[in-house]
């Protein structure tokens, strides 16, 4: 114990912090949001820039994964076509609970400028969305803000099993 840099005169003389299970679990969840790489269009470029060294998502514990099994955050970055809609649903279903979705950019929010027959008019028609991020395309700072807002949202949730699994239907 003595090797630790612990000030025994504080915190009741012990290296102990008192908190609740909810807070510890949510602290872990909100600070290790592993995101599924879901670049569908030009927003994907901004998402990649957010992950790269200049904006550095690793600072928030947000690390991009290529497998839905390893990720709990889906950043839908770009235009969702009707042909692709069933695949986004399947990948969302493969993610483990608890899971969150950021809808990034106008196209993912509402279909954006693609007011056509082939574009899904908002990903919330297919999967439940936690956070809508406006912009065309949103800058990396905006995506950082979205992730921080999502962290704030996660910390406000109950961590226990009472949490209802998210389903659109």
């Amino acid at each position: 114990m003595a090797q630790h840099q612990v000030n025994y005169t504080q915190d009741n003389g012990l290296p102990v912090a008192l908190t609740t299970i909810d807070k510890v679990v949510n602290w872990g969840r909100s600070n290790s949001l592993w995101a599924l790489t879901y670049g569908l269009a030009c927003c994907g470029i901004e998402m990649m820039a957010s992950g790269a060294s200049r904006y550095d998502f690793d600072r928030y514990g947000t690390i991009f994964r290529s497998s839905p099994r390893q990720s709990e955050l889906m950043i839908v970055a770009g235009t969702l076509t009707k042909k692709h809609a069933e695949f986004i649903k399947r990948l969302y279903d493969q993610m483990a609970e608890p899971r969150w979705v950021i809808s990034m950019g106008s196209c993912a929010n509402t279909g954006g400028m693609f007011n056509t027959y082939a574009t899904v008019q908002g990903v919330d028609r297919v999967i439940p969305v936690d956070l809508y991020l406006p912009g065309c395309a949103p800058r990396p700072e905006t995506l950082q803000y979205a992730v921080m807002m999502l962290q704030k949202k996660i910390r406000a949730e109950k961590a226990g099993k009472a949490q209802r699994p998210k389903r659109l239907l």
């Binding site: 912090a17 908190t19 807070k23 510890v24 602290w27 600070n31 009707k82 042909k83 809609a85 069933e86 649903k89 106008s106 929010n109 509402t110 279909g111 954006g112 400028m113 007011n115 056509t116 027959y117 082939a118 899904v120 008019q121 908002g122 028609r125 297919v126 803000y145 921080m148 807002m149 704030k152 910390r155 406000a156 659109l168 239907l169």
Partner: protein
């Protein structure tokens, strides 16, 4: 090439243009004006029927019978040196004359010439594949089928290329609505959740600029955030300052305090 017009003051001018303005036809000239094209046309005419031929924008346009398409393209490829099929597709003239116009854009690198071979087919008439002659026709013919419903005989893999396999309708037809028919509007819902989910998910909202500040389920005002589903009277509550963390702090994480931050003006510091 179109004539170049100076665009220095283009932003000072009105954007308005007459929406019923019809562009005048690009002038046509006789095939005899160009010796190379005249020789090519003579070679085609020796074996096949040609209903019309002219030169437009330095390219020759040849109208043939639809059943001659493979023969004409084979002749042009093997004897006339037009070794590339750079583009092919269909044009919807159903409203005007009940027909599709099929065009094949041919390129000769040796002669530095382009010829457009065209033919008309009826609405339910199939056309022979030129895939054995040009590999580039493979996907083009599939796209033509996908977008116009023009069937191609003896194609090795006649299947939709862009739209899903179970799609109904042909989107590039003039009669197809831009925002899709009923099948297109409900496609993703029907496919994933089934028709009974239509009432729950609801129709598509096509107004992407719709903002309702009193709808706290779907919208929030930046700087005036209220909890989701709050009463509309709470919307005009006092301003909430921009905060990245909740009050009381976060377990094991230092609070970001706005007034203690420093904005670095010198990036190389």
């Amino acid at each position: 090439m179109r004539a170049y017009k100076p665009k220095d003051d283009v932003q000072k001018k009105s954007y308005y243009t007459d929406r019923y303005w019809v562009a005048p036809m690009v002038p046509k000239s006789m095939v005899e004006d160009d010796a190379v094209f005249a020789a090519d046309l003579a070679a085609i005419k020796a074996k096949f029927d040609v209903s019309d031929a002219y030169i437009q924008v330095e390219q020759m346009v040849v109208y043939i019978k639809p059943e001659d398409n493979v023969g004409v393209l084979k002749l042009m490829k093997e004897e006339l040196g037009y070794t590339q099929l750079s583009e092919m597709s269909a044009i919807d003239w159903i409203a005007k004359q009940g027909q599709f116009e099929i065009f094949y854009q041919m390129l000769s690198m040796g002669k530095r010439k382009r010829i457009r071979v065209k033919c008309f087919i009826d609405q339910n008439q199939a056309i022979e594949s030129v895939n054995p002659l040009f590999r580039s026709a493979d996907w083009s013919e599939r796209e033509m089928f996908d977008m116009f419903g023009v069937k191609v005989n003896n194609h090795p893999y006649m299947k939709r290329i862009l739209m899903p396999d179970d799609w109904e309708g042909y989107p590039l037809l003039k009669t197809y609505p831009l925002q899709g028919d009923e099948f297109a509007a409900w496609y993703e819902v029907d496919r994933i959740y089934g028709k009974e989910a239509r009432a729950i998910i609801g129709p598509e909202i096509r107004d992407s600029a719709r903002v309702d500040r009193y709808d706290t389920e779907r919208f929030s005002r930046l700087g005036f955030e209220v909890p989701m589903g709050a009463e509309p009277k709470a919307v005009d509550a006092e301003e909430t300052p921009l905060a990245y963390q909740e009050e009381g702090g976060v377990f094991m994480i230092d609070k970001f305090e706005d007034d203690k931050t420093e904005i670095i003006s010198d990036r190389k510091r």
